[in-house]
């Protein structure tokens, strides 16, 4: 009987310790998942390539001001494609605002969309986007083959596409600038470079 009690207690201890270990392992799996999730913007293959010249388009902003794609010699442009019905686009507006403020020395942020102007005017008012140039142009979206939103294109001062991609988070938005600063356009290119050096 004593042996039975001993083995029972020993097994209880074992089960509880093992459950603790399994719980710790499952949590660590979650942490690993979060670490390996790619944080760079997803580059789509369609549309003009990175490094290609931007096709010159004369656009008119919603408030009537004229706007050219690229075209200014010393300033870069971030064209951010959004829509009135996309919640992630709205979630990124604070990030866009802070980027516009922090990078004001060299970067213009342009918002782009298409469709009828009224819903966009309402969103501009609701979200306080009056400071941003806001362009409605189906042609612009087609030029960059924007299929999914939010999508952003960073155009360098030399009118070439520095980086572009599907943007779901502030990190991905910032990765476009990392691409400009490091001169490495994509995560894939960085990995190839690392492989070439090894």
């Amino acid at each position: 009987m004593e042996l039975l009690a001993f083995s029972n207690i020993a097994l209880w201890v074992l089960v509880l310790v093992e459950l603790g270990i399994i719980l710790a392992l499952t949590r660590q799996i979650g942490i690993l998942f979060e670490r390996v999730t790619p944080v760079g913007a997803m580059i789509s293959d369609s549309g003009p390539d990175i490094g290609a010249k931007v096709p010159s388009l004369a656009l008119t902003a919603l408030d009537g001001a004229a706007l050219t794609l690229g075209g200014s010699a010393d300033r870069a442009q971030l064209v951010f494609f959004l829509s009135t019905t996309c919640p992630i686009c709205k979630a990124l507006i604070p990030a866009l605002r802070s980027i516009r403020r922090d990078e004001a020395g060299w970067l213009d942020v342009v918002l782009a969309s298409d469709g009828r102007p009224d819903p966009h005017r309402r969103m501009i008012e609701k979200e306080g986007l009056q400071d941003f140039p806001y362009v409605l142009s189906a042609e612009l979206g087609q030029t960059f083959k924007v299929a999914k939103l939010p999508f952003a294109v960073l155009i360098g001062a030399d009118d070439t596409i520095v980086s572009k991609g599907l943007i779901n988070s502030r990190e991905q938005l910032e990765s476009l600038f990392t691409a400009k600063e490091s001169g490495i356009p994509t995560l894939q290119a960085a990995m190839q470079q690392a492989a070439a050096q090894a």
Binding site: W12, L16, L19, G30, E34
Partner: protein
Amino acid sequence: MDSLVAHGVVAATVLVVVILARAAWHKTSQFLPSVGFAQDYGVLPEALVPTALRLLALAEAASVLLLLLPATRQIGGLAAAGLFLGYGLLMALALSRGKTRIDCGCGGAPQIVSGATVARNAVLAAVALAIAAAPLQVVGPWGAALGILAGLMLTLLYTIAETLISHARFIRRQT
């Protein structure tokens, strides 16, 4: 045999109490995120959601108290079963409307509402119903201690299952 049932009831009660207490705690300590999660379900008009959440947190806390007192344990079991079934139905409703990317807001690890969370709620409702259906019996101090230990073990197992469910969102994203 009867005492086996009584000890099982203690274990099950510990599990249900921990889950409900955590849900109530989650709703009150992270009130605004919870309101967001609940609004994602899109069942109630958005203006009513904060009040509804407060009431639900109260109902959860009340069920916990009812479950802990031996005299009201069976009513507490019924209340808990009602809550689990209600939440399960809400999730099924959201899923049937095509909302496959919303957070369940259940407390604990973040989980996307899916078939797994609906099934989980069905199991929990069954456990709570079993508590309500079991006859009232007195367990001795050792029996109670063992029952609580077994309940903690169940809670650990439940937490593991929940963590695994919460990983599903990563796995889906990469396929």
